[in-house]
């Protein structure tokens, strides 16, 4: 038994948890405002009843912004306090701790004129840059009141989907959820024409003082958007073999495969 504990502790500390201890973060600038968005998405394109939802924070500073999943953010703030692998193992092996969920983070105008995208595919963290001005918005005449703000609609084609965005010139930003940006007012609502991805503004708040926009100062695998998509798609398609590395439980593997098969509707359909 002692050996088992020892071996598993060695295994855990080396494979997956060590990365959580003593993580360093690079502060970029203070957050002035935090916007909360909800996302409803259909993760299986063949099953309209399978709607998942999630919430995101958009932290905006003077020059840059950070877009992060709320669950990921709170998990991140919890693990930052840990100083030993043991604390992390205790936290992670607690069955009530959330599963990873959506782990990507988007830093807009960082570096200048670009956006930085980071995401985790077990067990590596990837990073790539993309131009900020990838959206070619077409302004329409449609106006409406959304969430109490006067908004106007603009459309664009992005990542294989046709998108409609409602933005409010009264909110003097040019940011929005996910990678969306470049409209003269905060995006209040944005969705694709099949309603597979629908983002809605939930709230606009001032963060507590001292909240920084920061980026984890870790070993990223730097790649391109295509390289990342390739890794992401391979992980999904090869899930059975990846799962075999961690478990020989057939039921577990089949559940993973079944779940992976349902995740067939990424937000960006253009993968090459």
């Amino acid at each position: 038994m002692k050996n088992l504990v020892f071996i598993s502790a060695v295994f855990l500390s080396n494979c997956s948890y060590a990365q959580f201890v003593g993580l360093k973060y690079k502060n970029i600038e203070p957050a002035n405002i935090v916007v909360t968005y909800s996302l409803q998405y259909q993760q299986d394109s063949t099953d309209p009843s399978n709607i998942r939802s999630s919430t995101f924070y958009l932290f905006m500073g003077n020059t840059i912004s950070k877009y992060v999943n709320c669950a990921n953010y709170s998990r991140d703030t919890a693990t930052r306090r840990f100083t030993t692998n043991k604390q992390v193992i205790d936290y992670m092996t607690n069955p009530q701790i959330p599963k990873a969920g959506i782990l990507y983070q988007i830093f807009k105008n960082y570096p200048k004129g670009k956006l930085t995208f980071t995401d985790h595919i077990p067990s590596d963290t990837f990073k790539f840059e993309e131009n900020l001005d990838i959206f070619h918005w077409n302004l329409t005449d449609d106006t409406a009141i959304n969430c109490g703000y006067k908004t106007q609609k603009a459309t664009c084609y992005f990542g294989g989907r046709s998108w409609s965005a409602w933005f409010s010139p009264d909110l003097p930003y040019n940011d929005g959820p996910y990678k969306f940006n470049g409209l003269p007012g905060l995006i209040v609502k944005v969705y694709d024409n099949r309603n597979h991805y629908v983002f809605n503004l939930l709230s606009i708040n001032k963060p507590e003082t001292g909240v920084m926009i920061d980026i984890q100062d870790q070993e990223y695998i730097e790649t391109t958007k295509q390289g990342f998509f390739r890794a992401e798609d391979s992980f999904r398609e090869d899930i059975v073999n990846r799962a075999k590395e961690v478990s020989s439980d057939n039921d577990f593997i089949q559940t993973l495969a079944k779940n992976a098969a349902q995740r067939n509707n990424p937000i960006e359909l253009l993968r090459k």
């Binding site: 504990v5 692998n85 590596d124 007012g185 070993e219």
Partner: protein, 888 residues
């Protein structure tokens, strides 16, 4: 022929040139507005919104956002004399300018002015919020087709329920699930949410940032929420049931789980039983990391000194071979004394009858001789176990206290018949168990640090007896005269306690977690061997009896140190153990005393060379004193063919272990490779000496002869996913070598075992819904005695697995395994089909196992100088149909 076309082309061109000239000048055609924005201090301002309106209109007609140089450009096509340009941003005062509708370049100088944007919640949540508690009225969210609490939870904003039953709030799992403020299930709450009818719940409360340990409430922030369910009125009894039946012989599988909630007392009970080979008693064990961590240090409650000889369980799933008849009753109850103290109890009772038929061929290699023994076992095992755990939990500001009291009582019986070389030997073992243990954990603040104190106390008593008919070891026990019956009796009483205190310190890049403690064990062992000759009981002489009292005191200090640089992590642990051991034997010549200070070290380094390459290496050294449970001067008959004695003085064994691993993992190419190597060497002061009689019975003594044994383990793994073909090819290779010295029949010789495993695997993902997997494992085991190869066993097994989901509520699973051994083909085919009625939450399952009715399964094991070939009798072809549903 071409004339009209070219003529038309010319005409079009002329018209468009004229219209361009006319419309641009007269009818306000497309114009372009460019410009630059800077602050009044002269710095250029990027990412400022530029909006173009028509005078008197609030709808935007064009826009731009300034670039890194503060420059912007937009085109406008509007029917108007003039345009309004608005410049807006959060940090500068808005500006508005009316311009003539012609192409032009503009300059803006903005004045700093931070706008106060009031924090506003745009959507008022349809729930009430009181401080950190949100409450949802169940009636407002439930729909008519919802059945249980889980269905309603799914509809509540902010709450998600995972397929596993786990509840998330704002994407984060809840840390506690309370019913009426009480935590009965300790994490296994899905039993409640899946079965509590919606009609019985009035409100669901979310306690945000819930820290369950009150003393940590102001010190350690929690990001997690807890969920509390309020019951409408009085008592609710609900439950779930699963019924299954099949052939052949008649198979049954039952699971009924009713439960009751009141505000003071809560109860969940479960009755389960089957004869389908499913060992449901395994489910009762909850293995959290904490449990595993602690159990390693305590002596096991289950003493297995004597046994009815049986083959070790095969590596296949229990439901393929286990012939059982199990009944299990489980009770979880909770009573709250006041808001600070709760009492929990968990009581279960299991009754299991297991039947197993195996045959074993043992081959023993010696330098000049090879012995073969064959045995057939026909064993019955009756497990009769009562387990009770009482928990008291005090949760106040000043400290946190959790105490578990466990009481276990067993009346196990085992019977076995072994057929060997034409003789029939019957064995009967009674191995009752009585144990009581108490585990106390408390957190207390001392100064600025929080100390963790643990105290564990246990007492157990095992009076076991093994009877063998006819009598064995007649050469030693009865002057070589055959006799009727031999009985081995032992009586072991043990007391153990372990008390420690620890904390965690963080100093810059270092983290140190020291723990100091003291443990004490005291035990007494009584044993004797009785012969029954012509129905007269005779007790054997003191050479075959023991009366030993042992105590062992151990003080320890251990600490873990971690040091982290960006790409490199060092960690080390160090432990000092001070031992004092005293053995008092009724034969004073065998009294022993030992005082020793032993140390353990371990250091490791982990280095990430590049994105894809990584190396890891560690070295460890441990010192242990010999297991004093195994120290006895009188002979003990452990099973019908093993008579053991150990008189060698207590000594220490030291072990060194080196581990290294190199990895290349590239997800972008889906190419993964690992090479790892482990070497370990240990030195001990004594060697066990085996005297093997011609009938296979063995007399084990210990010799004061130092010995060194070592092992090498090498593993290579490579896997590549070909995305165009949706195919994964992988290959695994293992090599293990173990070397040591053995003493058999007074002859000492070197042994070496080598094991090779090669396992290529091809996996094809035909569609996302279908997966086919083929692999084979080729195993070879070699045994060398004094460098001479004595045995070579090879086995090749083919496996094909296939599963697909024809629809979301259906699952089809097919697996087959084939190997050929001793000219016999062995083919196993299992099939499973599951259909779920999603709305009614009813699962139907049809399982066919061992379709080709293969009756045996063979496996090989090699150790030092012996090789075991074990053949297990399998469960025959069987079909089980089962239904799972909930009742209200």
């Amino acid at each position: 022929m071409n004339v009209p076309d070219s003529y038309a082309g010319w005409w079009k061109a002329i018209v468009s040139v004229i219209s361009l000239l006319l419309f641009n000048q007269l009818l306000w055609g497309q114009i372009s507005i460019t410009g630059q924005i800077s602050s009044n201090k002269g710095e250029v301002l990027p990412r400022i919104n530029v909006m173009v309106y028509l005078p008197g209109n609030t709808s935007l007609i064009a826009f731009a956002v300034s670039d890194e140089q503060g420059k912007f450009k937009t085109t406008v096509k509007a029917v108007s004399d003039s345009l309004i340009i608005k410049i807006s941003s959060i940090n500068y005062r808005n500006e508005s300018r009316q311009i003539v509708n012609v192409s032009q370049t503009l300059q803006f100088k903005l004045v700093e002015d931070v706008k106060q944007l009031e924090g506003i919640s745009v959507i008022a949540l349809p729930i009430n919020k009181y401080g950190d508690t949100l409450s949802y009225l169940v009636g407002a969210f439930a729909r008519s087709d919802d059945k249980d609490l889980e269905d309603v939870l799914r509809r509540m904003p902010g709450i998600e329920v995972e397929a596993s039953g786990q509840i998330l709030y704002q994407g984060t799992a809840i840390n506690k699930f309370y019913v009426e403020g009480l935590d009965l299930m300790e994490g296994r709450y899905s039993l409640v949410t899946k079965n509590l009818p919606k009609g019985s719940v009035s409100t669901v409360e979310i306690l945000e940032n819930h820290q369950p340990m009150r003393m940590l409430q102001d010190k350690v922030a929690s990001q997690q929420a807890a969920l509390n369910v309020k019951i409408k009125k009085g008592v609710t009894t609900t439950g779930t049931a699963e019924l299954g039946a099949g052939l052949s012989p008649f198979l049954w599988d039952v699971n009924v789980t009713p439960m009751t909630f009141t505000k003071k007392i809560q109860v969940v009970t479960s009755l389960q039983g089957n004869n389908t080979g499913n060992d449901v008693s395994q489910q009762l064990r909850v293995f959290t990391y904490d449990d595993i961590k602690n159990s390693g240090e305590h002596p096991s409650e289950d003493v297995k000194m004597l046994n009815v000889l049986a083959a070790s369980p095969p590596e296949i799933k229990t439901n393929r071979y286990l012939d059982n008849n199990i009944m299990l009753f489980n009770f979880n109850g909770l009573q709250s004394i006041n808001s600070q103290i709760i009492l929990r109890s968990n009581i279960y009772y299991t009754y299991d009858e297991q039947q197993s038929n195996t045959s074993l061929i043992r081959t023993i290699y010696m330098p000049d001789d090879t012995l073969h023994f064959s045995e057939k076992f026909d064993n019955q095992l009756t497990t009769n176990n009562l387990y009770a755990k009482f928990n008291i939990n005090r949760n106040v500001k000043k400290n946190y206290l959790n105490n578990d009291l466990k009481i276990q009582s067993g009346w196990d019986k085992q019977g076995g018949t072994v057929y060997t070389e034409g003789t029939k030997i019957v064995q009967a073992l009674r191995n009752p168990l009585r144990s009581i243990s108490n585990d106390l954990k408390s957190l207390n603040p001392i100064g600025n640090q929080i100390w963790e104190f643990r105290s564990y106390i246990s007492f157990d008593h095992s009076p076991h007896s093994l009877a063998v008919l006819p009598g064995q070891f007649e050469d030693m026990l009865n002057d070589s005269v055959p006799y009727k019956l031999v009985t081995q009796e032992i009586d072991l009483k043990r007391f153990y306690t372990d008390n420690s205190a620890g904390l965690v310190l963080g100093i810059k890049r270092f983290t140190i977690s020291p723990r100091i403690g003291i443990s004490y064990q005291q035990q007494s062992l009584l044993s004797n061997i009785n012969l029954s000759i012509n129905d007269i009981e005779t007790e054997m002489t003191s050479e075959f009896a023991n009366n030993i009292d042992t105590w062992h005191l151990q003080g320890y200090l251990m600490t873990d140190v971690d040091y982290k640089l960006s790409k490199l992590t060092f960690s080390g642990s160090f432990a000092l153990n001070s031992h004092k051991l005293n053995i008092t034997d009724i034969k004073p010549a065998n009294n022993q005393e030992l005082v020793k200070l032993l140390a353990d070290y371990r250091i490791s380094a982990d280095y990430k060379i590049t994105d894809f390459w990584r190396v890891y290496s560690s070295w460890g050294y441990t010192e242990r004193i010999s297991d004093f449970d195994e120290m006895y001067s009188g002979y003990i008959m452990k099973n019908y063919r093993n008579l053991s004695q150990n008189m060698v003085p207590v000594s220490t064994t030291s072990t060194q272990m080196v581990t290294s691993r190199i990895e290349y993992r590239n997800q972008i190419l889906s190419f993964f490779n690992t090479l790892s190597y482990v070497y370990s060497v240990s030195h001990s002061a004594s060697t066990s000496s085996n005297w093997i009689n011609t009938d296979g019975s063995t007399i084990v003594t210990n010799e004061n002869m130092p010995q060194t044994s070592n092992s090498h383990f090498l593993q290579a793994y490579t896997s590549k996913f070909f995305s165009a073909a949706k195919t994964t090819l992988s290959f695994r290779g293992n090599y293990v070598q173990q070397k040591g010295t053995s003493v058999v029949n007074a002859e000492s010789f070197n042994t070496r075992n080598s094991m090779f495993l090669l396992k290529p695997d091809l996996s094809i993902h035909l569609t996302p819904w279908m997966n086919v997997d083929y692999n084979f494992d080729a195993n070879t085991i070699l045994t060398f005695i004094n460098q001479e190869k004595k045995s070579r066993i090879s086995l090749l097994k083919h496996n094909i697995g296939f599963f697909f989901f024809p629809a979301k509520n259906q699952l089809f699973n097919f697996s087959t395994e084939y190997y050929r051994h001793n000219e016999v083909n062995n083919l196993f085919v299992d099939m499973m089909y599951r259909y779920t009625f999603t709305k009614k939450k009813v699962d139907l399952e049809l399982k066919c196992s061992n379709i080709f009715n293969s009756d045996t399964y063979t496996s090989f094991l090699a150790n030092a100088y012996s090789v075991w070939e074990t053949t297990y009798l399998l469960r025959p072809f069987q079909v089980i149909f089962s239904v799972k549903f909930s009742f209200y």
